[in-house]
């Protein structure tokens, strides 16, 4: 019920009049799925590399992703968006990806981070373009949030590069494969 919402919006339910519901629905659903997946990826990486030298850095990036997820949880309730059915699947797949890349070593984990964060920033950029084309004024709040998150993900990408992601075993193959997976995940989560 409305009341006691911790959002910056004035009520738990934003006014749903006049917004392009299908477009906003998709955006929030896929972003929520993305942040959820990112969370699980970092969780998987921490499970393997938590006690290594890159542990604190991964933890820091993970904390930021947790904040992102919290924000999208709020937006999901406010805009009455349905979450993707595939959440349980992303739960497992994300963890496996994170743990799997971490088993390749610290550089492997960083390579995974670089690949995923690059996909996510491109994806956020195209969403920003879409919203700007629709109506920058109407979606000002949402645009602000996505821009901020895009900048955060960009930062993670750069941190990954700083920590020798490119020196990881089979870096280009790994990166391509992961980014292909991200594209598929985005496609599916937008629709189902």
């Amino acid at each position: 019920p409305a009341g006691g919402a911790s959002l910056r919006l004035c009520s738990t339910r934003v006014t749903l009049e006049g917004i392009n519901k299908p477009v906003i629905d998709r955006i929030i659903r896929v972003d929520h799925a993305g942040e959820y997946g990112a969370n699980r990826i970092y969780a998987g990486q921490m499970a393997i590399l938590g006690r290594s030298s890159v542990g604190p850095i991964i933890q820091q990036m993970w904390n930021q992703e947790k904040d992102h997820l919290k924000k999208f949880n709020e937006l999901m309730v406010a805009y009455r968006v349905r979450p993707t059915v595939l959440l349980p699947f992303w739960n497992v797949a994300g963890f496996v990806l994170g743990a799997g890349s971490a088993l390749l070593g610290k550089k492997g984990a960083m390579a995974c981070t670089v690949a995923v964060e690059e996909s996510i920033s491109d994806h956020y950029n195209s969403q920003i373009r879409t919203l700007m084309e629709e109506d920058p004024e109407k979606y000002k709040e949402l645009l602000q949030i996505i821009k901020q998150f895009r900048d955060d993900e960009r930062e993670h990408h750069d941190i990954g590069l700083e920590h020798d992601a490119e020196a990881a075993p089979a870096y280009s193959v790994l990166k391509t494969a992961i980014q292909l997976g991200c594209k598929a995940a985005i496609f599916l989560s937008e629709r189902i």
Partner: protein, 286 residues
């Protein structure tokens, strides 16, 4: 939720027939309308007659439109609403629609605008009931926000919402099995499913559901099951004021709540077991 009405394929013919065969004066045919491909004659020829619903504001369109101009869709809504009165007698049929049109002072042939199996009438009714339910829940929520009413516990809320919605069927309960079977026809399934899911989503929304994980689906699936089974029970219930149905509903909602609790218990037991095993592993390795 707007009920999807079938496009007016026979509209051109039908609209010509809509004119009442009597000495009422006819207004000028309207020059332009983006919604229609034919001339529409306003049927509301009595200026004092109140419109059934909000009229679109077609201001500034050459000043030719009369004040009582209504769109085809609004006309259809009016006919269908009027037709509901005749459903207990005629069932969900074209006859009921024809009677409804007659009651509004239109030609009986207006029923030709609609499908012959009464689909639109049923969908219109369901859509209307859902809207009424939303309004009811909205009002209740306002009362709680203003502090004038207590916030109900979830099971009570769900019970009351489903009961309120099902009670709207009571005047038509004799003919409701017919309606359900028509709604299950393949060409109606998209619309009826849409109406059902949005109603269930509405109820959970007002019940305060804020889940953003798979629970979102579980809760809606469970409530849909409760609603559908209770509806079936209601159609066969002959007890006074359907008290058997409400008791059935109460039991099903209680089951659902227990299911939730049991799931939580299983999860916490599982977590405890895992922790125990981890502890054992650490002990053994030391």
């Amino acid at each position: 939720v707007k009920c999807q009405l079938y496009p007016p394929q026979r509209a051109l013919q039908a609209s010509a027939v809509l004119r009442r065969v009597s000495d009422e004066q006819k207004k000028e045919p309207l020059a332009s309308s983006s919604q229609q491909q034919f001339d529409s004659h306003p049927t509301d020829h009595q200026p004092e007659k109140e419109p059934q619903g909000p009229r679109p504001s077609y201001t500034g369109q050459g000043g030719q439109e009369s004040e009582d101009y209504e769109s085809e869709e609004q006309l259809q809504h009016r006919i269908l609403t009027a037709a509901l009165e005749f459903v207990p007698e005629h069932g969900w049929t074209a006859e009921a629609i024809a009677e409804g049109a007659k009651a509004l002072g239109l030609s009986v042939a207006a029923a030709g605008m609609f499908h012959s199996d009464g689909s639109e009438l049923i969908l219109h009714f369901v859509s209307q009931c859902n809207t009424k339910l939303s309004e009811l829940l909205e009002q209740e929520q306002k009362l709680v926000q203003l502090g004038k009413a207590e916030k109900k516990p979830t099971d009570q809320f769900l019970r009351d919402a489903v009961e309120a919605r099902l009670r709207m069927l009571i005047p038509y309960i004799e003919k409701w099995p017919q309606a359900v079977s028509i709604l299950l026809l393949p060409h109606n399934i998209p619309s009826s499913l849409n109406l059902l899911t949005s109603m269930i989503d509405d109820i959970w929304q007002y019940a305060g559901d804020q889940s953003t994980d798979f629970n979102w689906y579980t809760r809606r699936a469970v409530l849909t099951g409760i609603y559908n089974t209770t509806e079936l029970v209601m159609m066969q219930d002959s007890s006074p004021d359907f008290e058997e149905t409400w008791r059935f509903l109460e039991n099903r909602v209680a089951d659902a709540m227990n299911m939730g609790n049991t799931a939580n218990q299983v999860q916490s037991t599982g977590e405890a077991v895992v922790q125990g095993l981890m502890g054992a592993a650490v002990t053994v390795s030391n």
